[in-house]
């Protein structure tokens, strides 16, 4: 792959924007005592699916850059919209394992340096183009040349057409988790080659192989997709997919308005990661007026990201003091009604190599211990322990930042707050212009997908972590063919984080898909090759299985 230094900078910036989607901050998300994991409730247990009908789906944001998967920055809402139009080559199953989807097979060479992707026959894009090896190659080229994924796919050397349905992808180093990157948290959809050449058309009139076809988009108002009559999938009972005739997506920024619209019957389904909204929705669910599916499988982690090559957090004493002084239970109660599940690692329980308590004994809130550490730090640094905590400027995150400030100040630290819009915060992170910042990131079932965020050579290693052990674990974890070796690497990685406290992990993000009780199929139909349903990943659920009962 030939990239100029400048090209790499855009890649870095764009990759950073992926983090942006998550930055919203540690304030959001959470877990529940009764619905952790890929739980499902009434909305998914509706009996036999019926064809027909339409729904209006309330989203938490507009996607101003449009819907071209290869180039658009997409937040959670945009990814859901695109999952109606595009399919990915692989998807996760309920165990978090990647299985072929648009691909019929994804096969590694014995040394994992070449992956052979064969797509299913007789699939057409919504504009009539065939899905073949040329289309897959064109997509790889677009993703690799584009600013968003060029950096992610930098391990790819070349992709070769083997036969009309098969492409071989050659790697620089063995890449065990490559199928996870083909899913890319639902972001790596296969786009119709004809539209790839025209960015405007690709953005404003997306064409894929997915269950629904783009109909219209009025910015800030709605985006409508209609049933793809030639969709390649049938459900396990032989019924043609998708079931619905139409989905209208409505961006409704305010979560209270979104829930009100659902309760008033103007929406059929909505997404949210807002703790207050989930709390209220659960009351309606208990009364039987609404249904919901909540997910924290392969969840993002809310945390405080530290700049560890700058004072004060270049000193482990300072990091420990901040960790001991933060009362996460109180933060969780006040900002999220206590819905969040606290974590001491960057991986969700379903992630390969997860270790529940990587540090023994685990750090718990201890104000006296924090005060001792603050005194110790001050004694060694001229009597000062002062830093700025950055965050996005939404009310929930600012509240969290203020609470953290008060807790840290109670331990003797001087903490200033700085808030900015998401784009500015990312630019600050890219430029190393922060000391501590509230962040949210790291979804996905395979830990290798986190490689770029923590490896010392990576420009998007915002915290400037430079730890040979972490580098070793990430490098070996990417290429080791022995699963036990990989597992040991990622267990060790979490232990290093636990000991060194490069980041202060808070909790898992919780996403809820709240609906009328008549809406079903959020977990999707069974996978095309059997083996259960598609697994949910953070805010991503399949759109193909949605249906409404009468």
């Amino acid at each position: 792959m030939q990239h100029s230094a400048r090209a790499n900078r855009w890649s870095v910036r764009f990759l950073a924007s992926v983090a942006a989607l998550a930055v919203v901050a540690a304030a959001c998300g959470g877990g529940s005592s009764n619905k952790s994991g890929s739980g499902s409730s009434g909305s998914n247990s509706g009996g036999t699916p019926v064809a027909g009908g339409s729904i209006t789906y309330g989203l938490d944001a507009e996607s101003p850059e449009g819907f071209c998967d290869t180039t658009a920055q997409l937040a959670a809402a945009g990814i859901l919209e695109n999952l109606a139009i595009f399919d990915t080559l692989t998807v996760p199953n309920e165990k978090g394992q990647m299985v072929p989807y648009l691909a019929q097979s994804v096969t590694p060479s014995p040394d994992y340096k070449t992956w052979t992707i064969k797509v299913r026959p007789n699939i057409k894009f919504q504009d009539g183009e065939p899905l073949d090896s040329n289309a897959v190659k064109a997509n790889f080229e677009a993703y690799r040349k584009g600013p968003l994924f060029g950096f992610v796919f930098q391990n790819i050397v070349d992709e070769r057409i083997v036969d009309p349905l098969t492409v071989a992808v050659d790697m620089k180093v063995p890449w065990i988790a490559f199928p996870s990157f083909l899913f890319g948290t639902g972001r790596v959809g296969i786009v119709a080659p004809n539209t790839l050449a025209n960015p405007t058309s690709c953005s404003n009139h997306p064409v894929g192989t997915g269950p629904y076809m783009f109909k219209d988009w009025v910015v800030n108002d709605h985006m409508t997709v209609v049933k793809n009559p030639n969709y390649w999938r049938k459900d396990s009972a032989g019924r043609q997919l998708p079931y619905l005739d139409q989905i209208t997506f409505r961006p409704i920024i305010d979560p209270v308005s979104r829930l009100n619209a659902l309760k008033a019957g103007q929406l059929d389904l909505m997404m949210t990661d807002n703790g207050d909204t989930i709390f209220q929705a659960r009351q309606a669910v208990n009364q039987g007026t609404l249904a919901d599916v909540e997910n924290q499988q392969s969840a993002e982690i809310g945390y405080t990201m530290l700049r560890v090559n700058k004072p004060p957090f270049d000193d482990q004493t300072a990091r420990e003091a901040a960790a001991y002084a933060a009362d996460r239970d109180e933060l969780n109660q006040i900002t999220n009604h206590g819905l969040n599940t606290l974590t001491n690692t960057p991986f969700a329980p379903d992630v390969f190599g997860y270790v529940k308590e990587p540090r023994q004994p685990p750090i718990k809130f201890d104000l006296n211990k924090a005060k001792q550490l603050v005194s110790q730090y001050k004694a060694a640094h001229g009597g000062k322990f002062e830093f700025t905590l950055s965050s996005t400027n939404d009310p929930t995150t600012i509240k969290l930042a203020q609470l953290l400030q008060s807790q840290w100040q109670a331990a003797g630290m001087t903490v200033h707050l700085r808030s900015a819009d998401q784009g500015t915060l990312i630019n600050q992170a890219l430029g190393g212009d922060f000391q501590a910042t509230l962040w949210r990131n790291h979804p996905g079932a395979d830990p290798d997908t986190q490689y770029v965020w923590w490896h010392s050579g990576s420009p998007v290693n915002f915290g400037s972590i430079n730890d040979p052990q972490i580098d070793h674990d990430l490098d070996e974890g990417r290429s080791a063919t022995d699963p036990n070796t990989r597992k040991a690497d990622y267990e060790d990685l979490q232990k290093v984080f636990g000991q060194k406290l490069y980041n202060l992990w808070s909790w898992y993000a919780l996403w809820a898909f709240i609906s009328k009780p008549t809406v079903h199929g959020i977990n999707g139909p069974d996978l095309p090759d059997g083996g259960g349903k598609q697994g949910l990943v953070a805010s991503v659920h399949p759109m193909v299985g949605l249906w409404v009962s009468k």
């Binding site: 855009w10 764009f14 507009e62 800030n220 409505r250 920024i253 008033a264 103007q266």
Partner: protein, 315 residues
């Protein structure tokens, strides 16, 4: 006629100032505007943007280039949606205008009879109740009122939609669709309008010609509506023009809460998503609209009050 020409010249000067300030929005961005507007764009896209907005030229030349485009209906391209800003505004502006119009009409429809009645019964219990009620409405921020109305009339009783419906059918559908946001905005305005009209009306009712009308046996209704209302409505007219600014401000929040894809929501998203070209276009359109509305109000004075017309003509 001469007065209108003078006013028009003043209008052009004000519009030029407004357009220059809007233009400067992008030029005041720190660093290279192209880097700020499309931080994740390719060098080709940034080069195209510099060419489009002319940042490689001297400032006066940039302004002339931009103004020429604006006068030809080209407000620039939004580099996120890949759409023309004018296209986005053409979709958004009518919705905001409908909301503002509905809110103004609703406020005036309630404020005028209430103000007249309150002045006629000045000091009575009914007057005090009316004053108390409108002051109560004035003290509640419009977005709080919208939440309350939404909850009770939308969620609990399902009388009105709680978000802007994408499709409405018929005239009654239109009135229902816009009622909650319009009523929220109108509530604060009607208090101002009613109080202004009441004060002016009380003064008018002390005039000799009103006493003369009464002595001639004209009915109260005729005196109030035919002879007292018109000369009492100048402050109301001024307030109606000036309040467009307050309404626009309130509409921004209301549009976001009610998910109306109007200028307020467009502006909100443009700010939060750093769509600077679109933001500049929105600011320009809103500012020009505000200036034009107040120009029309200024002209209307002379229509309403022949004394002003004659005085200006004599001058």
């Amino acid at each position: 006629m001469r007065m209108i020409v003078t006013k028009l010249i003043q209008l052009v000067v004000v519009l030029l100032v407004v357009s220059f300030l809007s233009f400067m929005l992008i030029n005041l961005l720190p660093g290279d505007p192209a880097e700020v507007i499309i931080p994740f764009g390719t060098p080709q896209a940034r080069a195209q943007l510099r060419h489009d907005i002319g940042t490689d030229k001297p400032l006066p030349q940039q302004y002339a280039h931009w103004l020429n485009n604006v006068l030809h209906g080209n407000l620039g391209q939004d580099y996120q949606t890949h759409q023309q800003a004018s296209t986005i505004i053409k979709q958004a502006l009518p919705k905001s205008l409908q909301l503002l119009f509905y809110a103004e009409v609703l406020a005036l429809l309630i404020a005028i009879p209430l103000g007249v009645f309150s002045a006629y019964r000045a000091g009575s219990v009914a007057d005090r109740i009316a004053n108390l009620t409108v002051f109560g409405l004035l003290s509640v921020p419009d977005f709080i009122l919208l939440f309350l109305l939404t909850y009770y009339l939308g969620v609990k009783n399902r009388v009105f939609p709680v978000i802007y419906p994408t499709n409405t059918s018929g005239v009654s559908g239109w009135f229902k669709a816009w009622f909650l946001p319009a009523a929220s905005l109108a509530a604060g305005q009607l208090a101002v309008y009613m109080r202004l009209l009441r004060t002016d009306m009380i003064a008018t009712l002390q005039e000799d010609y009103i006493t003369m009308a009464k002595s001639k046996g004209l009915t109260n209704g005729r005196i109030l509506w035919r002879h007292a209302l018109r000369p009492s409505s100048f402050s109301l007219l001024t307030a109606t023009g000036l309040s467009v600014g307050a309404l626009i401000g309130g509409a921004f929040i209301v549009e976001v809460i009610y998910s109306i894809p109007g200028m307020g929501l467009t502006l909100f998203n443009a700010i939060s998503q750093r769509q600077y070209v679109l933001l500049q276009a929105c600011v320009l359109v809103i500012a020009v609209g505000y200036v034009l509305i107040n120009f029309v109000v200024d002209i209307l004075y002379s229509v309403l009050d022949p004394r002003i017309r004659h005085a200006r003509a004599a001058a």
